[in-house]
Amino acid sequence: MSTVLSNVEVPAGVSLPIYMDNHATSPLDPRVLEAMMPFFTTKFGNAASRNHSFGWEAEQAVETAREQIAKLIGATAKEIIFTSGATESNNLAIKGIAEMYHERGNHIITQVTEHKAVLDTCKRLEKYGYRVTYLPVKADGLIDLEDLKRAIDDKTILVSIMAANNEIGVVQPIREIGKICHEKGVIFHTDAVQAVGKIPVNVIADNIDVLSLSGHKIYGPKGVGALYVRRRNPRVQIAAQIDGGGHERGMRSGTLNVPGIVGLGKACEIALAEMDSEAAYLRGLRDRLKAMLEAELDYIHVNGSMEHRLPGNLNVSFVYVEGESLLMGINDVAVSSGSACTSATLEPSYVLKALGLGDDVAHSSIRFGLGRFNTQAEVDYVGAKVIDIVKHLRELSPLYEMVKEGIDLTKIEWQAH
């Protein structure tokens, strides 16, 4: 697609397309790549090779990475298990705990805005006789802790609640959730893939027993992740889901992805060192973008709590404009939409619907995911461009015209198709 109707000028120093979808994945930090490179070439050893220097070298690098990851989340190195990413970590955590503790109970609690890696894993366990409670969220995207307390019964073995949501960036009260779980003797797992490295997460202070994280969300490589499994107070056990050579203390067999692991470790080290300054920077950019949009456009709706939110996330509905048509107009900017038209299922985002938003508002949403490498000039361009296109599309929108005339859209008998 070539032409764009907008006349917004591209500022100096900004090159197109602009990447602003850092919740989907993030670019590899050059410092991470540099750390990884030798492990593709000269230091190619198998970390499980115990009888030569190639193996020792690889093993040493893996153990360094384990330390770096543990340090970021307040864990010890022995509590880190390497996986292929957060989807595998979530599967291993939930299925592994369900299997290990099935004699204690068969009840699992999660919530409706979890990633599919958690929801679909829970659905599979339901087929095998487990009982799953899906807690609702409030309009701001947060769960109600009273709902959680009420849901826990004597058969509950696991609570799995994400730390931060991938669409709306809403940060759940994990410390309080963990506290409730520990009081009731229930294991607490959190999918922290969006939170780790972005906001402080500490497995001790936050009462977390099992935690999933991933490399590519924190400027590390794809195809590598980790699972933290608590070893003390309480010691959590997990049944392996992949059998083989007994790697990772039997919890996850398979030759370790040494370059990936080195990259994940380096990414964690950088995240820890730069988290405070980066969070302040991203919050500044995010708030600037939000202020720009709000100054120029009416009928815009920020989805999810602004108070409990990742610094780099902004999820906005431009009401009376359909999300995909907006994406088409800003095709030199990579963002994503909760519109049905952008999904294979033709269903709007289940996360936004869970907040109680109408399908029409969900269809109008855009997720801006700001990251380490975005600049203020980029934000200014994206803001101006979005404003321009939204105005154009509202000129085209019968709904916007009707609302401006004072017609109540809910009173119209629409012909759903």
Binding site: S2, V4, V321, L346, E395, P398, Q415
Partner: protein
């Protein structure tokens, strides 16, 4: 998703965007789709009562690029045609012209529905208008 050049062209330069006076007896209005489905099209026609020719066609659409293009194209096609002729336009014609992929066929269906709804409204209105006129004359 990649859009065909024609879809992009209609999206960038939509034809016949606007609003006609829906109170006029010469104007028929079709409003189809639903906000919760992500598509609403409003298509309006102004018909010459003498010749039955659609002299003006206007649209506004809330929807994806393909929905905007389908309705824009529909206004282009019906303009200058007689009412009965306009009714022969099929959604498959729109699919072909815009090279719509299977997931976007519903956009073309909606555009066909919008044409029918606008003409239906005009017919209904005209029937009423004719009767009123007749009554007026009789008095």
């Amino acid at each position: 998703m990649a859009y065909s050049e024609k879809v992009v062209d209609h999206y960038n330069n939509p034809r016949n965007v606007g609003t006609l006076d829906k109170g006029s007896t010469e104007v028929g209005t079709g409003l189809v789709g639903a906000p919760e489905c992500g598509d609403v099209m409003r298509l309006q026609i102004r018909v010459n009562p003498e010749t039955q020719v659609i002299e003006e066609a206007k649209f506004k659409t809330f929807g994806c690029g393909s929905a905007i293009a389908s309705s824009s194209l529909a206004t282009e096609w019906i303009k200058g045609r007689k009412v009965e002729e306009a009714l022969t336009i099929k959604n498959t014609d729109i699919v072909k012209e815009l090279s719509l992929p299977p997931v976007k066929i519903h956009c073309s269906v909606l555009a066909e529905d919008a044409i029918r709804a606008a003409i239906g409204d005009w017919k209904k209105k005209n029937g009423v208008a004719e009767t009123a006129e007749t009554v007026a004359v009789a008095k």
